[in-house]
């Protein structure tokens, strides 16, 4: 089992009367890229939020890198080595692009000053340009605040942030939803690079083509439950849609949904 | 001639009477201008106002101190700029060491609370309650020196042999306010305890207490109520038989006196450094004189 990077057992989240996630048993091997698909409201983002400690789960276990974990917040998850692009992006509107890219891990000088250490603006700006380049996005002035960026520009900043730092696991929740044709293919290249480097990935996406192009395995959520776990080679778009819509349910998931 | 005056608080009842005394007196004088500032109960603001007067080049300054302990800094500022300074109504702490060209026209709060509480004590004795009487004390704003002093005067009177039959059930602040006094009194009443007197640091609170007691059906003949200030409202309450004791100070007289002293100092004349204006006890017998 040493090659399992993430495992969830019976992971469940209820919001008052809404059963958003029920009894999710999920495994991800080191180096593996897995897609999560499913209808709107199927519980995909809820699943991501439980793993990354954004919310506290109702019940179930999360085992990361061989250890049972109970992240008190996303800070803990990140420190454990999970990098996430959230669906809500998590950018600070009033700050500019380099500030956002380095938020929480700024480059600094004179570190003996503790919380008052100085920021190395110059270095961060240079690195920002390099990181954004990879996403193929165009931004007229990276010193403008994030609130003045277009939807796709914002998304690229969030992706560049995640891609700039090494991690044990990367999670991307619909990373290309707002992206243009060119930017999407650039981000897909970033994902391929992760694959080549052996970094595992969970990709939430509604884009069938993208999923079939990129990942090894597809997990389908429906009404808060996992209803299918399919190797890419053994399935196709139509088959997946059948699981998404509930026309089919995976053999090992009978009784679900 | 330009005189600048800094008053502790403009929306204060007693100080308003004093202010009016000043403006009325100025109207009778030729070629004298008075500029009055509201220190809004802020010590620091008052010191700044004095410095602003100095910047504007006034001929004399009158101060009704927010905090009489802060007068040293003010005296220093005025003396350094060579501008005469008169303290009014509240006695400055540096009275023994007042620099040249400074004086004060004030009254002594030790008198007010003492006159009030002692008269209540006498009235209670006259009613035959010297075997024991209980009551309540309403404090003014706890950060206000007049309030602190007047309450202290009350304890001192109750501590005297002649008045130690009086005991306080409770004391609380109603912040000089009639409204808060009404609520406070009603709260006291809801405990159902018997009592014989209510002493308040000012008339507004005494009137609030009276209104609350009357609303709860308590006869004003059974309770001694005392305030301070002798405001028109209090005098009316006194004539109506509701209020028993208040204390008058000649605030308008103090105001006018401070102006004359300031003008004299500005003209370089010799003046008395200290002018004491005493408090006067007011009871139903002499109330008419103050209306």
């Amino acid at each position: 089992m040493a090659d399992i990077i993430l495992e969830t057992q019976g992971l469940t989240k209820h919001y008052g009367g809404v059963h958003a996630l029920n009894d999710a048993n999920f495994k991800l091997e080191k180096g593996e890229h897995v897609a999560i698909m499913g209808d709107n409201g199927a519980g995909k983002s809820t699943f991501v939020r439980q793993i990354t400690g954004v919310e506290q789960r109702t019940s179930g276990k999360v085992i990361f890198d061989g250890q049972e974990v109970n992240f008190a917040g996303p800070l803990d998850a990140r420190e454990a080595g999970i990098e996430t692009v959230f669906q809500t992006l998590a950018l600070a509107d009033a700050l500019d692009v380099p500030d956002n890219l380095f938020l929480g891990r700024e480059k600094t000088k004179w570190d003996w000053l503790g919380p008052f250490k100085f920021l190395d603006y110059k270095a961060m700006r240079a690195d920002t340009l390099a990181a954004l380049e990879k996403t193929g996005v165009k931004i007229p002035n990276i010193r403008n605040t994030i609130q003045n960026m277009s939807g796709g520009q914002r998304q690229c900043v969030a992706i560049a942030r995640t891609a700039s730092f090494h991690s044990k696991l990367t999670i991307m929740d619909e990373p290309t939803a707002a992206l243009g044709v060119q930017e999407t293919s650039q981000v897909e290249n970033i994902i391929r690079t992760l694959k080549d480097q052996g970094e595992p990935l969970i990709l939430v996406s509604h884009n069938m083509r993208q999923v079939m192009d990129l990942v090894d395995r597809i997990v389908v959520f429906r009404r808060g439950r996992i209803v299918a776990n399919l190797r890419k080679e053994e399935t196709d778009g139509q088959d997946i849609v059948a699981y998404i819509t509930g026309a089919k349910t995976g053999a090992e998931f009978e009784g679900a949904a | 001639q330009n005189i600048g005056a800094s008053i502790a608080r403009f929306d204060d009842n007693g100080l308003t009477i004093m202010r009016n005394g000043m403006t009325d007196h100025i109207a009778t004088l030729d070629g004298v201008e008075l500029q009055m500032e509201d220190a809004q109960d802020d010590v620091a603001r008052q010191l700044d106002q004095i410095n602003n007067f100095i910047a504007s080049g006034v001929d004399a300054i009158i101060v009704n101190a927010v905090d009489t302990n802060a007068t040293e800094a003010m005296s220093n500022a005025a003396a350094a700029a060579g501008v005469p300074l008169v303290y009014v109504n509240r006695q400055p702490i540096n009275m023994d060491t007042l620099p040249e060209g400074q004086a004060f026209v004030a009254s002594n709060e030790i008198e007010s609370g003492t006159l009030q509480a002692f008269q209540i004590c006498r009235n209670l004795r006259a009613e035959g309650k010297s075997g024991g009487a209980t009551g309540y004390l309403m404090n003014g704003q706890l950060s206000n020196q007049a309030a602190v002093q007047r309450s202290k005067d009350v304890y001192d009177v109750i501590g005297m042999d002649m008045c130690n039959f009086m005991t306080l059930i409770d004391e609380q602040t109603a912040n000089w306010s009639r409204d808060e006094a009404q609520d406070l009194m009603t709260n006291w009443l809801s405990s159902g305890e018997e009592f014989d007197f209510v002493i308040a640091n000012n008339d507004e609170m005494a009137i609030g207490a009276i209104q609350a007691m009357k609303a709860n059906g308590i006869s004003m003949d059974d309770v001694q109520v005392g305030g301070v200030d002798a405001t028109p409202d209090a005098l009316v309450a006194m004539t109506a038989g509701d209020m028993d004791v208040t204390v008058f100070q000649d605030l308008a007289g103090q105001g006018a006196g401070s102006i004359d002293t300031a003008l004299a100092l500005a003209a370089g004349e010799e003046v008395d450094k200290t002018v004491f204006i005493p408090f006067i006890l007011v009871t139903p017998e002499n109330a008419a004189e103050f209306q």
Partner: protein, 360 residues
């Protein structure tokens, strides 16, 4: 419709598991505070086993100390009226700091139109205007007061809506302006001796009657009418409200006008209750009104809260104030204890909310 699950797309929703409304928490906090005072009455040696809410001396017909029940609500009724208006301002995403000074200014103005000619047979020593202003019908001062409130509210609202300056600044400016008006009106002199008609408005338990009556009205407005819905919408997301075609500017003016008219009405009741008007009246009322609303669950970031919550928030203050006098807490410590209890009440509310949110 209340029978269906309000789900769509074949999903079921378990209604039994839904969270309780926030007001329930504040209600519990209130009960808790009362219980603490009851216990203190038994425990503190000098209290001789008195009861806070119950009639231990057989003074009343019921088992309750009715005098206590009355004063608990009476003493918060006037600020409570202000808090009702402030509640909608905060829900709309704003704040109103001017309500306290507005009380002072309105009281001065109103009382000048409510004076009697004769006091105990003597001419009124505090007359502001001449002959013509004596013994006017009670409607006149009331209308004058409400119009003044409406005017101040309209200025607040227009500044906030049309120049887009922060409500904190607009109403802080108005705070100073109203203090100035209050003092300039009679140059600081109190105004007293109203007509009997005017004095009736705030007599006895009348303030409570006004407070609860207006609370019911405001609750209906906030919960069931267009005005209420738009207030929540603007507070939740002003841009969205604007893009959805709500006339946000006009709406804001209305919200601030209602708030100021309620503050003006509070001034009328207050000056009637006290039979006097003074320029310093209403000091810190704005802070207490806001605190009542927030303790009642109104969110300072807008979009969330309710009138019943604010009424309960006001009750918390009433109970605390009465409780302190009851246990004869030293005045110096009352302020500290009040501060601690305000914080504790809101913390309690938060803790219960979070627990509810993470409950299965």
């Amino acid at each position: 419709m209340s029978e269906t699950s309000h789900g769509i797309g074949g999903l079921t929703y378990d209604r039994k598991k839904r969270s309780l409304p926030g007001e329930v928490n504040i209600f519990f906090a209130l009960i808790l505070i009362v219980a603490v005072f009851e216990v203190l009455g038994q425990v503190l040696p000098y209290m001789n086993g008195q009861s806070f809410l119950f009639d231990t001396q057989d003074r009343f017909d019921t088992i309750f100390n009715e005098a206590r029940l009355r004063i608990i609500i009476l003493q918060v009724s006037i600020i409570g009226i202000i808090a009702l208006g402030v509640t909608q301002v905060i829900i709309s995403g704003g704040i109103d700091l001017s309500s306290g000074p507005l009380v002072g200014a309105t009281a001065m103005i109103v009382m000048s139109f409510a004076q009697t000619e004769l006091v105990n047979g003597n001419p009124n020593p505090k007359a502001v205007f001449g002959e013509w202003a004596f013994d006017l019908p009670v409607l006149i001062p009331v209308v004058v007061g409400l119009l003044f409130g409406a005017m101040i509210g309209a200025i607040n609202g227009s500044l906030i809506a049309y120049t887009r300056i922060p409500p904190f600044i607009a109403t802080l400016g108005m705070f100073l302006i109203c203090r100035g008006i209050a003092q300039a009106w009679t140059r600081g002199q109190p105004v007293s001796f109203p007509t009997e008609g005017f004095a009736a408005l705030g007599k006895g338990m009348m303030p409570v009657f006004w407070f609860l009556g207006i609370a019911v009205l405001m609750h209906v407005i906030m919960r069931y009418t267009l005005h209420g819905k738009h207030t929540y919408a603007i507070g939740s997301n002003e841009d969205a409200a604007r893009m959805s075609g709500i006339n946000v500017n006009r709406h804001k003016v209305r919200v601030y006008m209602i708030a100021s008219m309620l503050a003006a009405f509070a001034a009328i009741v207050l000056s009637s209750k006290n039979l006097t008007a003074q320029s310093g009246m209403g000091i810190f009322y704005e802070l207490y009104a806001i605190a009542m609303a927030v303790i009642g669950g109104v969110s300072l970031t807008g979009g969330r809260g309710s009138i019943p919550g604010t009424v309960l928030g006001a009750m918390v203050f009433g109970v605390i104030q009465s409780g302190f006098t009851y246990i004869k807490l030293d005045a110096f410590y009352q302020l500290m204890a009040m501060g601690a209890i305000i914080i504790a009440a809101v913390v309690l509310d938060k803790v219960r909310q979070e627990r509810a949110a993470s409950r299965s």
